[in-house]
Amino acid sequence: MNVCRWFGLWLVVSSLAAHAAERLYVQIRAAPIRSSPAPFAPVIGTLAYGEPVTVIETSGAWRNVRTESRTEALSGWIHLSALTPKALSLQAGADTSVRASSDEVALAGKGFTAQVENQLKTANPHLPFSAIDKMEKMAIPLDDITVFLEKGGLAEKGGRTP
């Protein structure tokens, strides 16, 4: 009886612990992780699309996460909107064995993807997708944004935390 009771208690405690150490997946391309939970806090690393992470701490909409699949675990703060509880490589019947690299995971995604866009382009050659490709190249380096904010007297102390 006592053994059963202790076992039951252990099950409750371990299930609570499992809930606390929540596993999530990165759902955007090249997700920066930061040294503190603030929008302009220094970036200390980048996570790949589909990468599994464990949540170790919570602060508002920010999660302090630790990588699961790297040989040297990386941890830092990431905004909750960049994470999903769904294993991305498992979507729409994709093969789980292809979770080797971020590219393969991206290709494993189905629904509205590059393949569908190509079909649309072929059927509608007048749509200026090349202008969108050019627009996408206008990514501003983080250092330039930092200088822009500083010179403009903006985002003091890493910006106000959402």
Binding site: I28, P39, S81, P85, A92, G111, F112, L127, G152, P162
Partner: protein
Amino acid sequence: MMRRWLSLLAVIGLSFGLTLVLVSCQAVQAVTEVGTSAAAAAGIISEQQAKAITRSTEAIVKASEVLTPENEYYIGRAVGATILSHYPPLDNSKANRYLNTLGQALAMASDMPQTYGGYRFLILDSDEVNAFAAPGGFIFVTRGMIRCCRHESALAAVLAHEIGHVQCRHGLASIRQGRITQATVTVLGEGAKAMGGETLKQLTEQFQGTVEDITKTLIVNGYSRAAEKEADTAAVEILRRVGYNPAALLEMLEAMTTRVQPGGPGFGKTHPPPADRITIVKGLLGPSPAPVEEPPARQTRFSEALRGVL
């Protein structure tokens, strides 16, 4: 005895799941999956039953829950390309670079700091006063709109409002009911096989329909007043977080009352009258907001970067 404990745990798991149903739509599916697998593990329901429950939960979810940021990115690219087939881009790399630096900085402070492919901004070579936000963070602003801005803070207010639409995923709400459900059925029906010709054809039709729904809302109909209020609320918060005076949004709207004709082309047609939005924004700012005083450094870079646009 042990079996009783396991069953009890499964029941706790399931009821926990049901409680959360009312709290967050996005949490529903994850929690249902956890609940059903716990029940299946405890032998209360079979694996097959667990899968059926999970599947039926997926069937009733909305576009905003089914579409991943990657899907949104491809929708946004196609919506963007459609906008650019109506409004040519302005070929001015200095002005566009300034717009992207400002816009990308603002986006970092939003409730969706990053999209799948990142936020991008582009000036449209049109005198019409207008701005568009496509899903995934592709944002377009006309020369006419930029000419309504006296300073960087005002332009920041315009961009923050558009970022608000992206963050709230308003574009997805304009997709016709049923279209995404069809697309989901098409994809799920395909299972683990490679996407075949017929499936790809169907999916492309559903994709094109989705893009048309969103583009029509952006260019012709406009978002609901409730969505505009949400975007203004988000804009005020983003401006505050970055350090701009949010009263710039108020100034911007006041400048627009003189430039935008109600029911006229562009913004006047797709947005509530500025006077209505002014009342809402005043409420968000609180009593007697401080007037915008633009520091010289910001005024100089604004005028220099947008010399050929203003």
